[in-house]
Every structure is written in C-alpha cells, then in structure tokens.
Symmetry: C2
Subunit: 394 residues, 2 copies
C-alpha cells in the first residue's frame, strides 16, 4: 500500500425526503444561490418546483440551466459570469455528474482571474478558493457528488479534460433514491456501467497489498451487478436505486483508489470517444472495458482477473487461472449485453474513420502509455478501439 | 436501507513518515497543544521525542499522561482542568482508542459547565462545542480515529458508557502503520478482534437491502482474517499492519453501519465485563462473539450466517444452511483460538460470581432486550456469559 491522504468530507444526507433539510443546509452559506441544472427533467419530476417551494421565498435564486451531458467550457464561463454578477454565495447543483462537474468548475472559476480552462489544462495553476457546493443527485453514476474531480469539454479544441481540487468537494450532498426513479433505461445502464468502471479501474492496479481497497471494490461491484437488472426492470424499486446511488458515491470518493499508484486505462480511452462523438460516457466505458480486459490479460495479470471472477462473479477458481479469468471477462461482457447496452462502436455512431486520431489523443492526454495497469501504446489503444467495432466472440 | 446522515470528515494522512506534516496540521488550530497519551510506550518507541522535535519549539505543550486502557472519568476531568488553565487550542491524542476517547470527552468537557459525566449519561445534555482533535494512532482497533464516539468508565458507579458527537470527530488522523510495529501480541490480537467485532455487529442486522454496507464489511472482515496472523508472526510486516490500520478506521466510521436500524449485541455485553473486571475490550469481544452467534442462530438468522460463511470464510453454501452457518461459527471461534486469544472467561480472571449482576446491567445500560439483531433478555445474556466459562465444543 502506498501513502495517501484521504479526505471525503461531504456530508451525505441519504434517503427519502432528505430534501426537507435543504433550507437549513443552504442557510449555512448564504442567501444567494446559483441553481445549476441540465434540461427539463427536474421540472418534469417536480424537483424544480419543490426547491422553489422550500427555498424560493427566503433565497435569491439565480439559474444556470442547460448544462450539457458533457459539460462545456462556455457553460462554465457563463456560470462564472452569473456568480460574479449576482454575488452568489453557494452553488446548488441539481442533477448528475455533468451538472456537478460544471458547478465545480464554476465554483473555482469565480475566484480565478482569466479563463477557467487555465486550471483545467495547466497543473501549475492552482485553485486557491471556491464557492461552496451543495448537490441534489438525480442519477447514480459518476460519484462527483462526493469528490473533488470534474471533467469539462472544450468544444473548440475538441478536448475533454479533468481537474481535481479538494476545494470543490461538495459540502453536502442530498441523495434521495426516489429522484432516480425517472432515470430512463439507457441512462440507468450507462450510470451503472460508469460506477462499475470506476471500480474496475481502481481494482486492476499493480500496487500490492491493498486488500482493504479491493475488498470494498469487490463488494460494490457485486452490488452494481445485483441491483442494476432490478433497477432496469422496476425503475421505482427503492432498494435497487438506493444501493446503486450509495455505491456510486463510494466507488469514487477515494476508498477504492487511495494507496495505489498508476493511472486508469478505460477512462482516458473513453474520453476521446465522447469528446469526438458526444456519446454517453458510461456506454463508451461498457463497450471498451471487456475489450481492454481481453487485451491486457497475460501471465502477469491473470491472477487478478481470476480473483475478480471469484469475488465478483462467484466463480470457483480453476487450477488453470486463464479459464477463470476468461470466464470473468465473458461474464463482464455478457452483463452489459444483458442490461441492454449497445456493445459495439457502430451502434453508438462511431465508425473506423477517426479511431487512429482518437488513439493518439488518448495517449497524448494521459499517462496510459507509461503508468496504466498494463501500459498502453497508441497501437494498443487502436487495437482495443478496432476490436470494439464488432461483437466479442468467446 | 434506512435513511442516514453520513459524515466522516477526518482527513486521514496514511503511511510512513506522515508525521512530518504534524507542524502544518497543528498550526491550523493554534499554538497551545494538549498532548494526551497513555503510558510509556510512546516514549520507548521514540514517538514522544519525535513530537517534541517537530513541534516543541514553536508550540506550548501541556501533557495529559497516564490515560488508562479503559479511560476514566477522573482523567477526563483532569484533562478539562488542564485545557482551561492553559487555554489549550487543540488536543493531540497519541495512542489508541482509550487515549482518543478520553480526548474526545476532554474536548467537549472544556465547553461544558459541570461534570462531563452529564453529557455521557444524559442524552438531553447536548454538546455544543469542542476543541479540535488531531490523532496519531498507535494501535489498530477501535476506529475512534475516524468517528465521533467515545466510551468512558466511571470507577465510582462501575459504569462504562459511551457518548457520540460529530463535534469530537478528529479533524486530522495520522495513520502510520510503523507506529503499530511495537504493539505486543496480546494487544494486536485484541485490536483485530475489536475491528472484527465492529464489522460483525453491523453485519448481523435485520435491515434488508444493505448490500453496499455488507459488501464493505465482508471485504474488511476478510482483510482482518488475512493479515492478523501475519501481524502476529511478523510484527514489523508493513503491509499487514497497514491493512489492519486502515480496516480499523473504516470499520467504524459509518460505512458499514449507516442505513441500518437496531443496536449492537456483543459490545453492550462486553462493556460490563471490562467495567467490572477491567479486561481488554477486544479480548472480551472475542470470547463473547462465537457464543453469541451460537445463541442467536435460528431459522430467521441462518441465511445471514450462511452468507457470512460464504463471503468471509469462502465456504460453499450447503443446501442445509445450518451446516454452513455452524461451520462459519466454528471458524470464527477457531480463528480467535489460532490467534492465541484466551477464549474463556476464567482465563481472563472472570468467574461466575458476578455474571448475573453483569447480565442485568448489560440489559439495563442498552437496548439489547428490544432492538438487538436478536433481542436478548437478562436470561439470554446470562446464558452467553455462562457458556463463555468453558471452551466451545463443535
């Protein structure tokens, strides 16, 4: 285990009707609120009206709406402008990862002279201060509700890049599983794939002796596998939605990744897909993950894949570890197929034309060629992309 | 899953030499520090000198030493007096659960008019303010380094009682596994038994659909089982000590217990043993746990015990769940025996003379007779105590 610095200070108010605490929560920070959200789903669900009912009278609400599924830099800049104009005290991010990520960039952007893209692209530019963020989560997916990470897309440069700061970790997150009842099938499975991928990325790592982190990841993976089919079949099943929601927060708040070195593999590859084609992040991850697994399976990694099969899919470990490992990879693929995920790139509108360019960018924008679980060259990434053009055969 | 409010804001600085950050950490809170510790072990290990070397020049250090293994109310009162006299800004608790628990009571006691026993015994007396606490952990056991709970013993009334407040959650905890290298065998196994018991207490619970919490608990239980024998055989094995240390914090910071109703079973029973006989808490828990398991195994609980056997001990689940459940209970007992725990009450100096009185007190001081996993009457507790007089036979 490597040294680490763990800090997940978000106060999570979990469960039905926790929104009743919203006035008290926001009051700690001030009376002018930036209400950040995406499209009309929070209006259709009644959440938007509920917020106004609870805080509308005593609070000045400024709205930043229309935040994109892959939030854009120009929306961040618009939010920063609003916060400065109206002297906003606190950001209330209502939505999923996109809305929360955008809010984080706004929160930090308010105190940054110049373009927020600076602190996203330049590690030398440090975030010194940020507005407090409170979130109301409406989809279980990114875990952004309990960490300091955010990913922003620059449409001009076609770049989709992340930044991280402890100052933008949400102060309070209201996690009411009933708000995810109306999440459509496609987004539910994309969300589950995203949670699962965060766990996979942290689990397949070369650092030895991280049994605490791995045991937590295994438990959360089993949870996602167990409850996703129920959530897809019965969207209003509270227990399924609750377990998926809580798993989303814990999958990426440091618990499963702290104390490990190296960088992730599938996320950098997927970020190019959604930067170029604006596809749903979780779907891109689901498509890439089993191909990546197949590509990196070798004598060094087979033991971990067999353990994954044993702990997560309850497989008996065969004397020939490759048998268990391959079965685990097949089950991973089959899981996504069973959920209904479109499991090839053409099904999400991606053909072979830009694969090479994206492979180059994936390696250029990350350290996967040197620090991934199994280092991936441009050729490796291209192979994984190419293998994603057609269904897998086992 | 029940509604819950999760908040584990402790910033954990984990790993070798993290103590170098101590000056910066303490500086946030002020220049007068109450250094709280137990006996001479931190002097023998060099930790005491290291602290003075790092902060001795710039900081005024007031010492509260001699904190007992089961910290006493009069020591708390002494600490409060010191803090008031010297206008202490921050408490640096160096040690294990006893030192940290005592520090929590001192931290809150400073701002409480009257005897600290008030807020420990009377739920109506709320803690309004507390001094900030920074900890340097020297034994993996109670998890006190990352939560707001504390247990204090009143020698006069023979009561050992807990209190809880978010205001006394440590701000920063330095977790350097090398500080646990010198923990003696007896305390190492007692610590592991304590961690294991926290997980057991949360795991055996009637609330349905808590797979997230249970998956985490299962992973942490496997970690304790896997690394404790190594830590006992090779006390300076960093990886074993690291995993046990991190497991201790996560076992009791809310992750495995939040979202569940009811109260614990073995802790209330053990608290009487250590209140009356001053035995080591973890050892008392190890003795009681398998007897409690045997006592509460029935048609309602057998499925959970079988799952426990499957997930934690890798048992195949038999069609007759009782077979798996009983094997799991046996393995739990055998585990403690293998560690070297004295597994009967007489071995720790407890005979039958006060069992009835303690059984009455255990029920009197807790809600185990109504809200435990399987409610336990005075007769039940007495049975479990009595069964603990002799070795278990399977």
């Amino acid at each position: 285990m490597k040294n680490f610095d763990f800090h997940a200070p978000t106060n999570t108010l979990f469960g039905k009707d926790q929104i009743q605490q919203l006035p008290k929560v926001l009051n700690q920070y001030g009376k002018t609120v930036l209400l950040a959200y995406g499209g009309g789903s929070i209006k259709r669900s009644g959440l938007y009206d509920k917020i106004y009912e609870l805080i509308g009278e005593e609070t000045t609400i400024v709205e930043l709406s229309g935040i994109e599924p892959n939030p854009r830099l120009d929306t961040v800049i618009k939010g920063v402008k609003l916060c400065k104009e109206h002297q906003v005290d606190v950001i209330l991010a209502v939505g999923g990862g996109s809305t929360i990520d955008c809010s984080k960039a706004v929160a930090a952007g308010v105190f940054h002279e110049g373009n927020p893209w600076d602190f996203i692209t330049d590690k030398a530019v440090t975030i010194e201060k940020a507005l407090p963020i409170v979130t109301i989560l409406t989809i279980a997916a990114t875990g952004s509700e309990m960490n300091g990470g955010a990913v922003i897309t620059n449409e001009e440069t076609k770049e989709k890049l992340g930044f991280h700061s402890r100052l933008v970790i949400p102060k309070v997150s209201i996690l009411d599983p009933t708000y995810t009842f109306s999440v459509p099938t496609y987004q539910t499975m994309a969300g589950s794939a995203d949670i699962f991928s965060h766990l996979i990325e942290n689990y397949f790592n070369q650092t030895p002796d991280t049994m605490v982190q791995d045991g937590i990841a295994e438990g959360l993976m089993r949870t996602v596998l167990y409850y996703t089919p129920t959530a897809l079949k019965e969207p209003t099943n509270y227990e399924a939605r609750a377990n998926l929601m809580w798993a989303s927060s814990l999958a990426l708040n440091g618990l499963t990744g702290n104390g490990k070195f190296g960088v992730w593999s599938c996320h950098p590859m997927e970020h190019e897909l959604s930067a170029y084609y604006d596809i749903t992040h979780g779907i891109g991850l689901a498509i890439l993950t089993p191909r990546w697994m197949e590509h990196v399976l070798n004598d060094d990694t087979v033991e971990r894949f067999a353990l994954y099969g044993h702990r997560v899919f309850d497989l008996e470990v065969n004397d020939d570890l490759y048998i268990t490992a391959k079965e685990a990879i097949k089950l991973t693929y089959d899981t996504f197929v069973d959920w209904g995920v479109p499991m090839t790139l053409p099904e999400v509108g991606i053909d072979e034309s830009l694969l090479e360019e994206m492979a180059e960018q994936a390696v250029h924008h990350s350290n996967i060629s040197t620090k991934a679980y199994v280092p991936l060259s441009v050729e490796d990434v291209l192979k994984i992309y190419t293998n994603s053009l057609v269904p897998m055969i086992f």
